[in-house]
Symmetry: C2
Subunit: 204 residues, 2 copies
C-alpha cells in the first residue's frame, strides 16, 4: 500500500502496539475514528487519559479504586478475616466474576520470577505482612497460577504466613468442569489423580 | 463483578463501543494501559487525537492525505486518465494492496441507499463530474460492492458517465480464486455462468 498519510500510519502503529490488535484491526479502528464525528474520538481519548491520570490503587489491597480504599476492603459485607492473595487486578476481577469469594484481596503486583529479575522485594509483600499482623486475618487463600513461578511464590509466602498460625490454602487444581480427560494435559491429569478428592454421595 | 472504579468502567465502555472490541478485550486493554508507564497511554491518546484533528482529505479524490493532494493524485507514475470510483478510503487501501491498479481514485464517501436516506447529493458526485469534464479521464472502473445499493449507485453513475463518451467498466464478479463451487452462493455461481469468460489457452 502506498504510504498515504503519516498521521494514518502513526495511528495504526500505535494501535498495533496494543495486545490483541493486529494491523488489520488497527486499520479498521483508525478508519472508524475517521468515519465518525471528531468529538467521538476526542471523548474516547479523554476517557483513556482520565483513566491513566486519575486511577487510584487501594491502600490496603492494591486493587484499583476511585478512592483511598476500594469498595471490597471498605465493605462490611465482606469477610475481612479471609484474605485471597492474587498476582494482579485481572485476577481479582476474574474471581469477583465467579461470585464465590466473600473475603478480601491482596494484589501482589506480580510473582517471583528469577528469570525476569522479579524478587519478593518487587512485590507488595511488606503491606501483606502488616495486614497479616494487624487485620485479624484467619485464613489465607492463595489464588496464584500453578506455574513454576507461581509455585515458588506460594512456597515463599507460605513460609511467612504459616508461622503466624494463619491457615493457608490454594485454589484446587484438576480437570476443568466440563473438560474431557483425553484433552487434559498429562501433568494436570496426573496430579488430579494424586490429589483425588473423597466422593461425597449426598452432595452430588 | 463489583463496580470497583467508575474510571475503569468508563474506559471499558469507551473501548467496547469500538468495532471488533468486546467487553473482554476492552478489559484487557484497560489493564494493559494501567500496567504500562503512564506516558505510553498518553502517547497513544495523543496519536489518535492528532489523527482526527489533523487528517486531511485529498481535494481531488477525497482519499486521506497529509497534504492538499494525496500521493496517488500527485504521482506522475499513475495513469491520471484511468479513474477508479470507490465507496470509501478502505476500498482505496484494499485495491492499493493488490498492486494491480495504476490509475487514480475517486472516493464517493458512501453509496446510494434509499433505506438509510443517502441520496446522490450526499456523495462526492459534483467533484466527480468536474473531474470527468476537466481531467481528461478516458476510462472509469467502478469498484463498488455488488450489493443492491452498489448496483443502484453503479447504474446512477453510468447514466452520468457514459454520455460523456468515457468507457465504463466494473470489477468482475464470480467465484473467488481458490474458492470451491460447492461453497459458492447460488447467486454468485449462477451469475458466473451467465457472465462466463472466453478461455484463452495461451494465457493459462
Amino acid at each position: 500500500m502506498a504510504n498515504k498519510s503519516k498521521l494514518f500510519d502513526d495511528a495504526v502503529a500505535s494501535l498495533t502496539s496494543l495486545p490483541g490488535i493486529g494491523k488489520r484491526s488497527a486499520t479498521r479502528l483508525v478508519l472508524h475514528f475517521l468515519s465518525r464525528p471528531q468529538e467521538e474520538a476526542i471523548d474516547f481519548v479523554q476517557t483513556i487519559e482520565n483513566l491513566v491520570k486519575n486511577i487510584k490503587y487501594c491502600k490496603k489491597c492494591h486493587s484499583i479504586a476511585d478512592d483511598e480504599i476500594c469498595p471490597v476492603c471498605a465493605s462490611a459485607k465482606r469477610d475481612q478475616s479471609f484474605l485471597c492473595i492474587v498476582e494482579s487486578v485481572r485476577d481479582v476481577m476474574a474471581i469477583e466474576e465467579t461470585g464465590q469469594f466473600r473475603g478480601v484481596y491482596h494484589v501482589l503486583g506480580g510473582i517471583i520470577s528469577p528469570i525476569e529479575g522479579i524478587g519478593p522485594e518487587d512485590l507488595n509483600i511488606e503491606t501483606l505482612k502488616s495486614r497479616l499482623q494487624e487485620d485479624g486475618i484467619k485464613e489465607v487463600l492463595m489464588a496464584i497460577s500453578p506455574t513454576i513461578e507461581g509455585e515458588t511464590t506460594i512456597y515463599y509466602l507460605s513460609q511467612i504466613i504459616a508461622p503466624l498460625g494463619i491457615s493457608v490454602s490454594t485454589i484446587s487444581r484438576g480437570v476443568s468442569f466440563g473438560g474431557e480427560l483425553e484433552y487434559t494435559d498429562e501433568v494436570t491429569l496426573g496430579r488430579s489423580i494424586l490429589a483425588r478428592l473423597p466422593y461425597n454421595i449426598d452432595k452430588e
